[in-house]
């Protein structure tokens, strides 16, 4: 979709919601170097959200949406949970259908878009919680990777079922006492990043969303690699401050504490050989472009 498609007829401009006027005049659709730095100066693709005050997931949403390389041709797939409370306010097409089937939906969607638009780029990005990705939807998460479906899977890992009130999930830490884990969780946090690598993902990252520049980098890499090569997976720590007993302003510190070298969200990145080559080519092109621009200026 080109940006012209969302131009408002001059006759109707004044009756359109201010939110939509801003989207047309100040959004970053079509801007090649869009990124987290646009937040605060351009109209964001996410409007207000109904998450808890200070929820790190709301930060993650802002960074991811600001970092999508091609939002005007990106369709997102969500699942049931806290993310499904945000998607209705997101200005890219997004699908909610059932709980846990997000990677199956994305498989069908990506294939349909490839059949219908064989000569165009249409990115598909899945964004779901850890219950949806690792528990109820694990089968479909893995099978999409086995099949080498060309889309990005992002898991908001808050280590529990937040939306239903803090029950045990597969990504919860061992020993954590929660609803449905009354004596503490009895088994280890599922090692999905490793499983993702073994299942055929070409790019896997495990990190927190404490640094917007890092989120931008990994989202751009993941979308590009999924578009050109095959499945990619990002597991992002978005702690549920409510359920781990923190205050609204403590989310950032919780993430910083959890990304220290020995901690479970220390930055880990896996890049397959073909993906490394793709990123190197992209970086070389960017360097060339920069040099040419510099020459033009001088």
């Amino acid at each position: 979709m080109s940006k012209e498609r969302i131009t408002i007829s001059p006759d109707l401009y004044d009756i359109m919601p201010a939110d939509y006027q801003d989207l047309v005049s100040k959004a970053t659709y079509g801007k090649e170097d869009r990124g987290w730095k646009d937040i605060g100066t351009s109209k964001e693709l996410i409007e207000q959200h109904s998450l808890c005050a200070g929820c790190p997931e709301s930060m993650a949403f802002r960074y991811i949406l600001a970092s999508l390389p091609n939002p005007e041709d990106t369709v997102m797939v969500g699942s049931t949970g806290c993310t499904s409370l945000v998607f209705p306010m997101v200005a890219v097409h997004n699908i909610h259908s059932l709980f846990g089937n997000q990677n199956a939906i994305a498989s069908g969607l990506k294939r349909a878009l490839s059949v219908r638009f064989p000569d165009r780029i249409k990115d598909v990005v899945v964004l779901a919680g850890d219950g949806a990705t690792v528990d109820i939807g694990l089968d479909m998460t893995l099978q999409a990777w086995f099949r080498q479906e060309k889309f990005t899977t992002i898991c908001f890992d808050n280590e529990l079922y937040a939306n239903t009130g803090g029950q045990e999930s597969g990504l919860m830490q061992k020993g954590f006492v929660a609803k449905m884990a009354p004596v503490g969780k009895l088994f280890d946090k599922v090692r999905l990043p490793e499983i993702a690598r073994e299942s055929g993902c070409h790019y896997v990252v495990n990190c927190t969303v404490s640094k917007p520049s890092l989120v931008e980098k990994v989202v751009r890499n993941a979308v590009l690699i999924a578009r050109e090569i095959g499945p990619t997976y990002l597991q992002l720590y978005t702690p549920c401050i409510l359920e781990i007993g923190k205050n609204s302003m403590e989310g950032l510190q919780e993430m910083r504490d959890s990304e220290k070298p020995a901690e479970r969200f220390a930055f880990k990145e896996y890049i397959s050989e073909p993906a490394k080559q793709l990123l190197a080519e992209r970086d070389a092109k960017a360097k060339e472009k920069k040099a040419a621009a510099k020459q033009l200026v001088s």
Partner: protein
């Protein structure tokens, strides 16, 4: 602006996109001797399908695999095997959300595993077509014909049609897309048949020409936006209704459910035009009527022949669509009947219950004979049921029990 018509142009296989009315009603037909599974393949060859997703389960596996051959030949946009029926139906949904014409097949336990998807399809207004080759769903395991799964499908908001023969199947697959893709309908269709009896037997079916196919699906005629980022995204609401415990939230959900069922009702006029009515009748002025759907109709026809030999006149009402339910038609067709016999291939007798809830003086309904678990229904047991209802002593083997 009128879209440019593709009618008369060719697809990559050289088939001509043909006005469906011309293709289905006027074009010459070639009698062909095929199994039901092969008939599904031949219909799909002519249906301009973008995406088909397959999964093995008896008795639909053969049809699902044959459509893979069509993909290899270049007739289908994309095709793959999913990992379970739940996943397959979600993959179908994803493809339909993305604006594709989608086809799939399932059966029995597969229908049950996929069930969560069906009301979602209807609520999301996805005009997917799913062939359901009915089989037992009970434990102990059974792969044999049994129509109990249809009773679940009837409450999902989908259109549900029940084919009697392979010819029905062939025509209704193609016509089904025309009905379910109407903008005022835009609902999924469960096109059911009795497994094995229809899928694995050979029959003569009149096929339309191979070089004609349906025009492609136009997702921009959908009453809900196609999720392809080709139209401006809308921020739907500030707080999703799921979060709200208030009247507006309830009213929104309630009105959408009502709209889905209203859309199924609006399919009536299109279905009547394509299928030549929601029911088909023979001698409906007779005192005794057999009223049913699927292959029970075929067995009913045989029973009518046997009874005619004995001088007992029996009429027939074949119900073609279960959703929408032909309420008025059934009431009208049965208004003079004193005995309404409802043979069924399931243990609960869902068809008899539906008919009883539809007609005045429901004591006229004889809820049987019923067979299940894969048992066949010899016409003699229908004859026996009718004779018993009439108080005639019977000498058939079945009567001795």
């Amino acid at each position: 602006m009128e879209p440019i018509s593709v009618i008369g142009t060719k697809n990559k296989k050289g088939q001509v996109f043909t006005d469906p009315r011309v293709m289905m009603r006027d074009a010459p037909r070639t009698p062909s001797f095929y199994t039901g599974s092969e008939v599904i393949k031949e219909a799909i060859r002519r249906a301009s399908i973008d995406v088909m997703i397959a999964y093995p389960i008896t008795p639909q596996s053969e049809a699902a695999a044959l459509i893979g051959e069509l993909f290899a030949e270049g007739y289908i946009g994309d095709y793959f095997r999913g990992e379970s029926e739940f996943a397959v139906m979600s993959q179908c949904a994803g493809a339909a959300f993305g604006g594709a014409r989608v086809f799939t097949t399932t059966a029995g336990p597969g229908t049950m595993r996929a069930m969560e998807n069906f009301p979602m399809w209807a609520g999301a207004r996805l005009p997917i077509q799913c062939i359901v080759t009915c089989r037992g769903i009970n434990s102990p395991l059974s792969i044999q014909p049994d129509t109990i799964e249809i009773s679940y499908l009837m409450q999902t908001g989908m259109l549900v049609w029940h084919a009697e023969t392979a010819q029905d199947f062939y025509d209704w697959i193609l016509m089904g897309y025309m009905v379910s893709e109407e903008p005022e309908v835009h609902l999924p269709l469960a096109l059911c048949c009795d497994g094995f009896f229809v899928t694995h037997t050979k029959d003569v079916v009149d096929l339309t020409p191979t070089d004609m196919c349906l025009p492609p699906y136009d997702p921009y005629r959908s009453p809900v936006p196609c999720m392809d980022m080709e139209c401006p995204p809308v921020r739907m609401m500030r707080d999703p209704f799921i979060m709200k415990s208030n009247y507006i939230s309830y009213a929104t959900h309630a009105s959408w459910q009502q709209e889905v069922w209203a859309a199924a009702e609006r399919s009536r006029k299109h279905t009547i035009a394509w299928l030549n009515g929601l029911i088909e009748t023979e001698n409906s002025d007779a005192d005794i009527l057999i009223v049913t759907s699927g292959t029970a109709v075929s067995q009913g026809r045989e029973a009518i022949r046997l009874l005619a030999d004995e001088g007992i006149r029996v009429g027939l009402v074949k119900i073609k669509t279960l959703r929408p339910w032909p309420e008025e038609e059934i009431r009208e067709a049965t208004k003079h009947a004193t005995h309404i016999i409802v043979p069924e291939f399931n243990v609960i007798g869902w068809m008899a219950k539906e008919i009883k809830a539809t007609i005045p003086r429901s004591e006229r309904v004889v809820a049987g004979p019923r067979v299940c678990g894969g048992m066949t229904m010899p016409p003699e047991i229908i004859v026996e049921e009718i004779k018993r209802a009439l108080g005639i002593r019977s000498t058939t083997l079945a009567a001795r029990g």
